[in-house]
């Protein structure tokens, strides 16, 4: 296995990985040929690392019958939408990494929407973090590297409908 192939496999397996300058270009080149792109993200220590995302126009179309994917159930999706609404304050910038929001604020914002508190906590602490969509630190919750990997077209669609994102107390 070549270094590039190894780095690419490790990047997929770890979701985020620090790439050396020597291999970064080669990995980006191979990823581009696969319809993907390298995205810079911050690891928990604050240093720069990378993750893989789909290039615009190359992402799979899960709505077609030929591509079956596992989807988030409504509660985690609602919890994610709330966290995006809370963390993504500057709508002109990229949603990642956004601003940290206290965990309890995110919970209360969802409870205010009528979601069961226990289910919200489970989604915020479990599925959304396992999927890399949220990251929890001492500061609170932030959007995760999987959000950073969203194609620009998806981000633009989210930006156009950003007003519908719940924002907790700010909604009131």
């Amino acid at each position: 296995m070549t270094d590039t192939a190894f780095e690419l496999a490790a990047l997929r397996a770890q979701r985020t990985r620090q790439l050396s300058p020597a291999t970064r270009g080669a990995v980006a080149y191979v990823a581009e040929r696969l319809g993907q792109r390298l995205v810079e993200v911050n690891d928990p220590g604050g240093s720069i690392c990378h993750t893989l995302g789909w290039a615009d126009g190359y992402e799979p179309l899960p709505y077609e019958e030929t591509f079956s994917v596992r989807r988030l159930s409504p509660v985690p999706q609602l919890a994610l939408a709330t966290c995006i609404g809370l963390c993504w304050r500057d709508r002109d910038a990229s949603p990642y990494p956004g601003e940290a929001v206290p965990f309890n604020d995110a919970v209360e914002a969802n409870v205010a929407l009528g979601v069961d508190r226990k289910h919200v906590v489970g989604a915020l602490r479990g599925e959304l973090q396992f999927a890399g969509l949220l990251v929890e630190s001492d500061e609170g919750l932030r959007l995760g590297p999987s959000v950073a990997a969203w194609p620009p077209a998806q981000v633009e669609l989210l930006r156009r409908t950003a007003n519908s994102l719940p924002r907790g107390a700010a909604d009131g």
Binding site: A9, A10, R12, A13, Q14, R15, E59, P62, V69, R70, R71, L72, P74, Q77, L78, L80, A81, I84, L113, G114, V115, D116, E127, F130, A131, G132, L133, S146, W150, Q154, V155, L157, L158, T161, S164, L165, P166
Partner: protein, 425 residues
Amino acid sequence: MSDDIQLGLGFSGRERTPFLRRLSALVAPVASDAGAVIDDEEMLDVARAVCGAFSHQDAAGGLTRAQIAARVSGACPAEVLDARLNVFVRLGLLRSLMDKKHQQRYVLDPAGYVGVLVFDRIAHRGGIDELRALLDRTADAIRSKQGSVAEVADALESCRAGFAVYANRLQQLVADATLAELVAERGFDADDRLYQTAEELQTLVTDLYPELDTPAWKLVEEALRYVDAAEGLLQRVLSEGGLALNFDQLDPEEYLTAARGASLDELAVVAVDVVFDPATPWVDAGAIIETLEQYQPRRASRERPSDPPPSPDTDPIARIQTHAAGVAKRCALRADALLAGKPEVELTDALRAAGWPAAGHMLADILALDTAKEQPYRVRFSDALYVDAEAPLTYISPAVLCADRTAAVQPNAGDVPAVAQERAA
């Protein structure tokens, strides 16, 4: 001998499969030259088909070549079948029904049929079953004391030699063979039952032929060496195959057995070196927006329905009492009107003048007053009867209404006047 043959090529230059290599080795002791053995497994299928053609009762009278060809139809091309039949006839697998010239009917020699079975078993299992059978036959002979000391010694030596040959071969494979060769040879039996059988045989010999204890012990040593070598081969297959992630090394049945019988930790070892994508459920902006639009919070618990609006009616008992009092008052007023201040009055004329049904209503009201103890009004009827077929009242008894105001009983507060009850009835 050329290098090509040593590399596993057959006499025709085609590469021999492991099956054919065993087959060649099996036949080598009786082959007159190196080209005596087929180098195509399909040729053995032809032999099976020909044997199968003779496996029914109607073959008792022999079969012609045409009948054989018809029964093995599809097994091989006609010219190949003809060539094979010539070989079978020359080697005696097929014999003429009668030893005459131009005899066209053939019968199958049972030895040839058994030969096909033996080839299948030895070629696929490596012949270790023959060694097991030899051990069992030797043990039976010793138990029944059928053989002399020399014969038992020869049998023990044959068994030991068999184990030694197999053990040497396995040790050479474990040391030098490629993974593919090891997989092809993994039919060797690593079960230590062979070793146990050899041990039992040695115990038997020690008891019944103490002078043969030494060759019996050598047999046990060789059996142990064989089992160790077979286990070494399997270990190498599993370890190298596992590293290479070659899932073809085990049969589907073996995978099924592992899935049913192995522990979670044992099964997890299979994927220790496998790299997986992390679990990433699909979520995009469109899905989030759709969820926001469609989400409706579920009610956590049932709410008690709101109280019904208060009834516009007042107390129903009081309403009944008020209504009854009104009725009683109206009847009393009517009676007073009839009396016109007199203590009693003749009602007959008034009733006849009222007609029907007004006379009935009037009489019912006055009779209701008569039954009420608290009212002073009484009605008396005479025994006379006025009959007038033309008038609205065709017949009526003369009635007198009187009022005894001194004997009237004052009603208690809340009592429903009897006159009202009568009217209600």
